[in-house]
């Protein structure tokens, strides 16, 4: 049995049939249960693991319908509208589902009805595998206890205290007093179960715009087989996308393993895709990157390819030689493949920003297909180093010729460089419009209000000046005695602050 911590006591959260035969009940204290039956086995509840298991089951149920919702901590809703004929009718589908669950070692109860409320009740309060035809909800619910209505325990006990024990009794009772006394939720649940108010389940995963799948009589496990099947699937997906005049930017491959595990592999592209070839290549890279982490086990018996984020895609017209302007697209596809294999951070492109601070002026951003906003033409083309370090590296400068001048020599990465020539300084001030103004408290001892304000302003100006001086950099281009050219700077000005300015090496030049 499983125990749960509740109000400082260990209580029984769930138990198996054998424990039930011992006349133990959920909610009973573990201490009491142990006193009755010292031999019972107690396991602490792990809600997180339960949830993971339920989500794995929900993943597996994706094979029946894309609309799977979690119901609390112990149930799943499947909206099988329009999917039933694929599995040979309602009866066959439900029987097959129950059989597969039992093969996986789960004991499940299932009910099928035309409303979520009635199905919920059917799954819990009647023989498993009950199928309610549309219109039978009222007669089915009439004889069930109030607990079949998905309402709070407090409401149930309230209703029972006034003698209403079955749903049938509420159905015939006048509605207005019920609503007044027990809240509108009761009537809402009732109407939902009867189908008078539409209720929709909220699927836990976004529903694909298009998806194609293939059930396999013989499970497959080899990556080559998966790729071959993938080409077939993307071929039929292409036809559907073509009919809609669209392409998709995200493709997801779902591999349903025989024993119930589901692998999701998704690839993204910068441009909408439709052709089977590029989609197959993207998945090829992704599968290669996954390598052995994709465990086929006993094989996959259902493979589904879904397309998300569809967008309009017009085929560019090729010239007579058959060569369209595909140069840019080649690069985009190449970048997509690299990213599918090595992660999104593997392809970068420079982005120039309107800033004079070197590390802000040019950023390496993730490649986005290249068709970003046109970067403004730059009139100002300052002399900069070829390579810039990710962050400026501190250097030791023992001596400068003059306080504000370039260093005589410096130590960088444990070796001393003697400066042969230096050019500079190029002073780069901080972007004061991006930093906040330091807060300066007014001097409360000053009596005159104007005087106080003037003093405060002066103090603030001084604080801003010190802050600016602290952040100001003087850049020098230096060449050491061996001919290496470096770009280094001194942060801070002499004489304006207590701390000694520090030196950094930011880049190397050709």
């Amino acid at each position: 049995m499983v125990s749960r911590q509740e109000n400082n006591t260990q209580r029984i959260a769930a138990m198996d049939e054998e424990a039930a035969r011992l006349r133990l009940k959920p909610g009973m204290g573990i201490a009491d249960a142990r006193a009755m039956h010292p031999g019972i086995e107690v396991i602490a509840e792990d809600a997180e693991a339960d949830r993971r298991l339920l989500e794995a089951l929900a993943d597996w149920c994706d094979r029946y319908t894309p609309l799977v919702a979690l119901d609390g901590v112990e149930g799943l809703f499947l909206d099988v509208t329009g999917c039933v004929h694929l599995f040979g009718g309602e009866k066959a589908m439900l029987a097959g589902m129950l059989e597969r669950f039992s093969e996986q070692g789960f004991r499940v109860r299932a009910g099928l009805a035309s409303t979520p409320g009635a199905a919920w009740a059917a799954a819990r309060f009647s023989a498993t595998g009950t199928i309610l035809q549309e219109g039978d909800e009222r007669s089915f619910l009439e004889n069930l206890p109030l607990a079949a209505l998905r309402i709070e325990a407090r409401t149930i006990s309230g209703l029972e205290s006034v003698g209403l024990r079955a749903i049938g009794m509420i159905l015939t009772a006048p509605r207005a007093p019920l609503a007044r006394r027990f809240g509108s939720l009761l009537l809402l649940r009732l109407d939902q179960a009867l189908g008078e108010i539409e209720e929709s389940i909220s699927p836990r995963l976004p529903v694909a715009a298009l998806s194609v799948e293939r059930h396999l009589a013989e499970p497959i496990g080899l990556v080559e087989d998966i790729e071959r099947l993938l080409l077939l699937l993307s071929g039929s997906l292409r036809r559907d996308l073509e009919r809609r005049g669209e392409g998709a930017r995200v493709f997801e491959l779902l591999l349903f393993r025989v024993d119930g595990a589901v692998s999701r592999i998704s690839v993204g592209s910068s441009l909408p895709l439709r052709e089977a070839g590029p989609v197959g290549r993207l998945f090829h890279e992704r599968l290669a990157a996954l390598g052995t982490t994709l465990e086929p086990g006993y094989g996959f018996d259902l493979v589904r390819l879904s397309a998300f984020e569809t967008a309009r895609l017009d085929m560019p017209q090729a010239d007579l030689a058959g060569a369209g302007s595909t140069q840019g697209e080649d690069i985009v596809l190449f970048a997509d493949r690299v990213r599918a294999r090595l992660g999104t951070a593997s392809v970068l492109q420079p982005h120039l920003a309107q800033s004079h601070v070197p590390e802000r002026a040019s950023l390496l951003v993730l490649f986005d297909g290249g068709a970003g906003p046109r970067q403004p033409p730059t009139v100002h083309n300052p002399e900069r180093p070829l390579r810039l370090f990710a962050r400026p590296e501190p250097i030791e400068v023992p001596l400068t010729e003059v306080p504000e001048g370039p260093p005589r020599n410096f130590r960088w990465r444990r070796s001393v460089h003697r400066v042969a020539r230096a050019e500079g300084p190029e002073r780069i001030s901080p972007e004061w419009w991006l930093t906040s103004v330091p807060d300066v408290e007014a001097d409360e001892t000053e009596m005159d209000k104007d005087e106080r304000e003037a003093k405060r302003e002066a103090a603030q100006k001084e604080a801003v000046a010190i802050e600016t001086a602290r952040m100001t950099r003087d850049y020098f281009r230096v060449e050491d005695s061996e001919g290496h050219r470096f770009w280094l700077y001194r942060e801070g000005l002499y004489g304006r602050q207590e701390v000694v300015p520090r030196w950094y090496l930011q880049g190397v030049s050709a």
Binding site: R337, S346, V347, L348, R387, G483, G507
Partner: protein, 317 residues
């Protein structure tokens, strides 16, 4: 006689095999066409050369850098990575001018972290390559970087590919470089293998150059050299593997305004001289750089006399 004929035949067949491996006609071995270098069409493509503008350098490469295939470029120390990148970007500039295709710089995260990330504004200033034409790919492992470079070489769209690696590696052997070389040859575009701190191992690249920083030239103000200024960057380029000519070395300067290489020779006016005689001591010596080309092997690393040595050399300038 019969045995000598057999021996001769063996030698000829061996020569043909060597020539096939090296990608040129066997006749060049015989010495009959001593100064004519015939190249097989699928070896080094005839006619597609990148003339750098430095005549002696181009001649040593047999007309210029091959416009397709692998070229190996070494930076001996981590500190020379900037110089090597500057030199390669100079070569790339010659290509980028022809097309509008972008350039791919593939590197290891480690090499970028250690030697610095490419800084597009610097590349724009020095080489005139627009930042929007630069694409950077980084990988954690050398195998992945090699894979990116191979894939990039086989698609049609990049003007040039730069693969930067760091340290010696067993993965970058003859087989791997031959794959890269073949792909780049088939695609008809150059692939520069930029290796930091690696030892010179056998590779399939027809040329191997070792780049070291050399003291820069000076700036000119009103036609006169400006003392102690840092002008066009200079590189000491040692061609250590060359199938056509014996190994040689050059000091090349990159002119950022003309976007061209110049060779710095003793007679060249680019040579830095002291701005004036009476300032010679003050300018110490650091500013006074005397460049000269000396026979291979006798030049110290950097190829330049240090400041202390300067007075002894001033007479030459």
């Amino acid at each position: 006689m019969a045995s000598s004929a057999v021996a001769r035949e063996t030698i000829v067949s061996l020569r043909h095999q060597i020539a096939k491996i090296e990608g040129r006609l066997a006749e060049t071995f015989d010495g009959e066409h001593g100064d004519v270098h015939l190249r097989r069409q699928d070896g080094l493509p005839q006619g597609d050369f990148l003339a750098t503008g430095a005549e002696r350098f181009d001649a040593a490469l047999g007309g210029g850098l091959p416009g397709a295939g692998l070229t190996e470029i070494h930076a001996t120390g981590m500190r020379d990575a900037g110089a090597a990148a500057g030199f390669v970007m100079g070569l790339v500039h010659l290509l980028v001018e022809r097309t509008s295709s972008p350039l791919l710089w593939v590197g290891l995260s480690e090499s970028f972290r250690e030697a610095g990330y490419p800084y597009p504004p610097g590349i724009r200033f020095l080489h005139g390559i627009d930042p929007s034409r630069l694409l950077i790919a980084q990988a954690q492992k050398l195998n992945d970087a090699l894979w990116i470079a191979e894939q990039a070489a086989s698609i049609d769209g990049f003007a040039a590919i730069l693969l930067e690696t760091r340290g010696p590696s067993a993965h970058l052997d003859l087989t791997a470089t031959r794959r890269l070389h073949r792909r780049a040859l088939d695609a008809g575009r150059p692939l520069f293998l930029l290796r930091q701190m690696a030892v010179c191992e056998p590779t399939a690249a027809p040329f191997r150059m070792v780049i070291t920083s050399a003291p820069a030239g000076t700036r000119y103000l009103l036609g006169k050299p400006l003392a102690r200024s840092i002008g066009p960057p200079a590189f000491l380029v040692r061609i250590t593997k060359n199938r056509i000519n014996p190994p040689s070395e050059f000091i090349l300067e990159w002119n950022a305004h003309a976007h061209a290489f110049h060779e710095r020779t003793a007679a060249d006016p680019v040579v830095v001289v002291p701005a004036s005689q009476h300032r010679a001591t003050a300018a110490a010596a650091p500013g006074t750089i005397l460049a000269f080309s000396s026979p291979a092997g006798s030049t110290p690393a950097g190829g330049q006399p240090s400041g202390e040595q300067h007075p002894a050399h001033r007479g030459h300038g």
